[in-house]
């Protein structure tokens, strides 16, 4: 575990800490951090417990709005607002725990519907007094790109530490056991319902923190921005591509795929969509456990 912290967490955090001084597109770096955090948060619930939440963005949006409403209405300092935003995401996850009774695609769809429902509530024009409705949020007062960037790096570091812990602990092993066979997991003495809910809340907490820090950094956004299903889809694709239930799988997924997206997706979107489409189809058909499964096939233990 210490080895993983040293060889994976430290270089990633160091890279994101140093890069802004040599590379000027800070927004792009920030987006890399956000997607890496979201991919790892999704990894917690999908990789380790097998639930694929298409509405994962709901927790991100809840974090963004929790943060913003605290700042707007209570003039809360950013770090307090960030904690409240994370708490809002966790509260939403608690509300949605009954969804864990569903399995497979039923869970995914119900979760997506829940995220869309939250978007509809937030962007309701009748709630303009509270949420600013569809007109969006502006947080000029707390705008601080340097501090919010640093906070995003810290959130990513904490997320990576959590996934490294899961990868190396009995708790992570128990989650994988539940994913493989909940009945057998019960007979191994695991409290299946409780451990599953803990993983679910942790995963929502990560998305909530990412959403809060995203709101802080961009400081002007619309409901559709932070509840965009694209966040869910990207995070899912990155995890699938790299390899779930590992630490480096989702990191690889973000670096490679989001890298391609930024290299060709913005200048020549038609090629990007072709490459992306072919890549995803090929992976699902031939490499369902992601890039790292190539190594695992050779008996190499991928952290």
């Amino acid at each position: 575990m210490a080895r993983h912290l040293l060889l994976i967490l430290l270089p990633v955090v160091a890279a994101f800490a140093i890069l802004p001084s040599v590379y000027t597109n800070h927004l792009m770096l920030f987006n890399f951090i956000i997607f890496m955090t979201l991919a790892q948060g999704l990894n917690v619930i999908y990789g380790f417990t097998g639930y694929l939440p298409f509405g994962y963005v709901g927790f991100f949006g809840a974090g963004s709005y929790g943060f913003s409403l605290m700042v707007i209405h209570l003039q809360a300092p950013p770090f307090v607002a960030l904690l409240i935003g994370a708490a809002a995401a966790v509260a939403l996850a608690l509300l949605l725990t009954p969804l864990l009774r569903l399995s497979g695609v039923y869970f995914s769809i119900a979760n997506l519907a829940a995220a869309l429902a939250v978007l509809q509530v937030v962007s309701n024009p009748n709630l303009e007094e509270i949420t600013k409705g569809p007109y969006g949020i502006s947080l000029r007062g707390v705008f601080n790109p340097t501090l919010s960037y640093g906070t995003a790096v810290a959130v990513l570091a904490a997320t990576l530490a959590l996934v490294i812990y899961l990868r190396n602990s009995h708790f992570g092993m128990a989650l994988k056991a539940i994913r493989e066979d909940p009945i057998s997991a019960g007979m191994a003495g695991i409290n299946v319902v409780r451990e599953r809910v803990v993983a679910w809340l942790l995963s929502a907490l990560i998305a909530g923190l990412a959403g809060g820090v995203f709101a802080w950094y961009v400081s002007v956004f619309y409901p559709e921005t932070v509840f965009s299903v694209e966040f869910s889809v990207f995070a899912i694709v990155f995890v699938l591509f790299g390899g779930n239930a590992t630490v480096i799988g989702p990191i690889l997924g973000v670096v490679i795929l989001y890298g391609i997206y930024n290299a060709v997706g913005i200048s020549t979107p038609q090629y990007f969509q072709l490459i992306y489409g072919v890549l995803i189809m090929g992976l699902v058909l031939f490499l369902p456990n992601g890039l790292v499964s190539l190594l695992q096939r050779w008996g190499i233990d991928v952290p």
């Binding site: 009995h170 092993m173 056991a177 066979d181 057998s184 997991a185 019960g186 191994a188 003495g189 409290n191």
Partner: protein, 243 residues
């Protein structure tokens, strides 16, 4: 032992319904520590349902289950495991992508009672799984996966072990080893409830059997006596064979 001491497991008037079908229809049984009780009967007679209810997969619809003096009917599986009950499955259910060692480790970490020395390797060795310890469980054959089910159950140090058709599909040599193993477990004080179709195996390991039909007990005693019981013969071979 004291003949009138409370049994380790006491099942009284157990009922389990699936819709209108009574899979268990007022079933009662007793099991003492160190005893091996065989549960036999035709397919669909309720043997596996009985194990599933005692191990917490299903909630009972009526009756009581007492384990070590406590009423445990309807408890979730993990709580039963911590109380000292475990089982194997008719179709083995290992954690397929976890290694053989991890399969046992997770049960040690979450299900083990007491705090004695936990020796994964010794446990795997005793069930001939040591050579595969670091391979994923999905690479094991069916007989080995059954042994892994047993290893996971034993890792939690059960006092009552429910064995659901462990012998089916094993070859003669494997059968002999499993029989010896189960008898050793009973000698160490574990109570065993064994569901099995192989009568030779049942005869070899059990002290006593219960014959079930349609969710009810129709006979209790030694296997040799069961073969002479007209009701048992009728259930297994049809009315024309019954004397």
């Amino acid at each position: 032992m004291f003949p009138d001491a409370a049994p380790l497991l006491a099942v009284d008037g157990l009922v389990k319904r699936f819709g209108g079908f009574r899979a268990l229809d007022v079933l009662s049984l007793r099991l003492d520590a160190g005893e091996i009780l065989g549960l036999v009967g035709p397919n669909g007679s309720g043997k596996t349902t009985c194990i599933n209810v005692i191990s917490g997969l299903y909630r009972p619809d009526g009756g009581d289950i007492h384990f070590d003096g406590r009423s445990i009917g309807g408890w979730p599986s993990h709580r039963l495991v911590h109380a000292g009950i475990n089982r194997t499955f008719q179709v083995p259910r290992p954690f397929l992508t976890l290694t053989v060692r991890e399969n046992v480790q997770v049960a040690l970490a979450y299900g083990r009672r007491g705090d004695g020395v936990a020796d994964v390797d010794a446990l795997l060795l005793s069930l001939d799984l040591d050579a595969f310890a670091d391979r994923p469980a999905k690479e094991l054959n069916s007989a080995q996966q059954k042994m892994l089910d047993l290893a996971r159950a034993l890792a939690t140090r059960p006092r009552l072990l429910l064995i659901d058709e462990l012998a089916a599909g094993l070859n003669a040599a494997e059968l002999e080893r499993v029989a010896v193993k189960l008898k050793d477990l009973a000698r160490s004080g574990i109570a065993l409830l064994v569901v099995e179709h192989l009568m030779g195996f049942i005869d070899q390991i059990t002290d006593r059997i219960i014959v079930m039909n349609a969710g009810k007990e129709i006979f209790e005693g030694r296997l040799a006596e069961a073969a002479a019981n007209p009701q048992v013969v009728e259930v297994f071979f049809g009315a024309e064979h019954a004397a």
